[in-house]
Amino acid sequence: MSTTVHILVALGALVTILHILRLVRLNQLRSKYALLWLVIAALLLPLAVAPGLLEWASESVGVYYAPTTFLVLAVGFLFLVAVHYSWELSRLEAKVRSLAEGLALLQAEEAERNARADG
């Protein structure tokens, strides 16, 4: 890989880190997700700066083509993230449903009370 590519990847990782820190500062990203993406960016950065690391890691686990190691890890990680998001979405949906029901019941009660007060 050329030096240009390494510089681009390193820049990308840096921008990601800065962007995530900014989102956290603006209260638009919960810290648990921020942590997740920061760790990823922190892992990518040294790989971009020192590509020898990836070669070394691949060799020591017996992978001949170094990019494969990277792709397998990346796909595996994204898969886990997707499963986690489905889980999180299911929980959120259950909570929203329950809130909607509770709200409807409260409004009905309020309407009944008002009708009694009027009548």
Binding site: A94, E101, A104, Q107, A108, A111
Partner: protein, 243 residues
């Protein structure tokens, strides 16, 4: 006996402004002593207003939750207001108000849940399409395999619950679309509740389309299977038998 006034009829309604007046009118003339609450499931039409004009109580959900969500809201309403029995009744005029008496009688005889069955009685006049009939038989088989009990009409939404079952379901009613009726059967049987089937006659729906489009149906059956497997695996919350 003042028990008659302690029964709540829950009517989940989604865009049923057209059918509601006759359903509610019939209900009032046949079962005048029962309290009625309509759960408007985020309808786009005037369902809630029509129900209010008819003088019944209305709980209006802020957006569409599906039948399961609407029924659970009704059961929560019933539990919060301390009703002894809760009857779930269709908005589209499929269920006949007379049959409520039979369901309530089954609850008073000690059942925790009574299911109105189109096919249990001698006169099975209810006509269904062949695809739907086959699907219903399949569901019946799945329920038998899962609970060891035979129910002739697993998808019937015409049901009555005593207050114990109402309290439990107000918290745990499965809200997945279409799966709710079958899953409740499985859940109640597994948890040791006393479930009985009561023969009722149902009329073909007067308005509106049956809630099953064939493409969605397959997906819903798969989802249902997952739901049933899940509730078979779930840790039991055995019913507390209070004498």
């Amino acid at each position: 006996m003042s028990t008659a006034s302690k029964t709540l009829v829950v009517i989940p309604a989604y865009n049923e402004a057209e059918a509601l007046p006759s359903t509610l009118g019939e209900l009032r003339s046949d079962q005048p002593s029962l309290d009625v609450v309509v759960i408007d499931d985020g309808s786009a039409d005037s369902t809630a207003d029509v129900a209010r004009t008819m003088g019944v109580r209305v709980v209006q959900l802020p957006f569409n939750l599906g039948v399961g969500g609407a029924v659970r809201t009704g059961l929560r309403y019933s539990a919060e207001h301390g009703y002894h029995r809760t009857v779930v009744f269709d908005a589209d005029g499929q269920h006949s108000p007379d049959a409520i008496t039979d369901l309530v009688a089954a609850i008073d005889a000690g059942a925790d849940m009574a299911v109105g069955s189109r096919f249990a009685g001698a006169e099975t006049t209810y006509v269904t399409g062949r695809g739907r009939r086959r699907a219903m038989r399949l569901l019946s088989r799945i329920v038998r395999w899962s609970t060891g009990r035979t129910f002739t009409d697993t998808t019937s939404g015409f049901r009555a619950f005593n207050h114990e079952a109402t309290d439990m379901l107000a918290r745990r009613y499965p809200v997945e679309y279409l799966a709710d009726t079958v899953e409740v059967l499985v859940m109640m049987c597994h948890d040791g509740y006393d479930v009985v089937e009561v023969p009722v006659t149902m009329r073909p729906r007067t308005r509106g389309a049956p809630s099953s489009r064939s493409i969605k149906l397959v997906i819903n059956y798969l989802r249902l299977l997952i739901g049933i497997l899940a509730s078979a695996w779930r840790p039991r919350t055995q019913k507390e038998r209070n004498p």
